[in-house]
Symmetry: C2
């Protein structure tokens, strides 16, 4: 149900999820560490996110303080669900198997997964 967030927009969301509320200038500063965007670009992205109703802005004097409306967790859930559905028919273990096969699982990952499973069974 969350409207589709593009890649560039996602960077802006990250900034706001990390800390909010922020002014456009602040968001711009934070985002600038990864992306080399002008303030204008960030403002455009903020407008688009507003249009998509995933952030809101509260007036503060003559500027706005932006904050996310969609919790990061919700977004993460829908995105990871989408991927797992699309690529693995909704089953998670093929994903893990796949990552394992690609050597993308560290010893640590495995240990963590074990601990996690133990907890889930409890």
């Amino acid at each position: 149900m969350v409207e589709k967030i593009s890649d560039a927009e996602y960077s802006v969301m990250e900034a706001l999820w990390e800390r909010a509320p922020l002014t456009a200038a602040e968001v711009s500063d934070r985002v600038a560490q990864d992306r080399n965007w002008s303030v204008q670009t960030v403002k455009t992205l903020l407008s688009r996110l507003m249009a998509k109703d995933v952030i809101a802005a509260d007036q503060d004097g003559r500027r706005f303080l932006y904050r996310p409306l969609v919790p990061r967790d919700d977004y993460v859930a829908s995105e990871s669900g989408r991927l797992v559905n699309r690529l693995f028919g909704g089953r998670i273990s093929p994903l893990v198997a796949h990552l394992a096969q690609q050597d993308q699982l560290s010893e640590e990952d495995i240990a963590e997964l074990e601990a996690l499973l133990k907890e889930l069974k409890a």
Copy 2:
């Protein structure tokens, strides 16, 4: 390194991954079960996929037989890697934890994961 495949293009790839080679008409038929596209649309998508060098076409009389150049596994690997990086900082266990928390893990999933881990440690 695999060029970005859009959502619509992905549906076409699915058809070809499932069975290849196929003519444009056959791809269209297969895709039609999910998406309500005209044959033209499918042909356009096939052209774009050709331009992106992710499929190839072999002439067969006056039509073409299309086949994937990129194995499904390669695509799946890069996509799942991308997601895990973006949303979970590259760690897989937070993904699993997240899915678990959202009750998106069935008993069966858990059992499978356990078996999988046992194997990985062997």
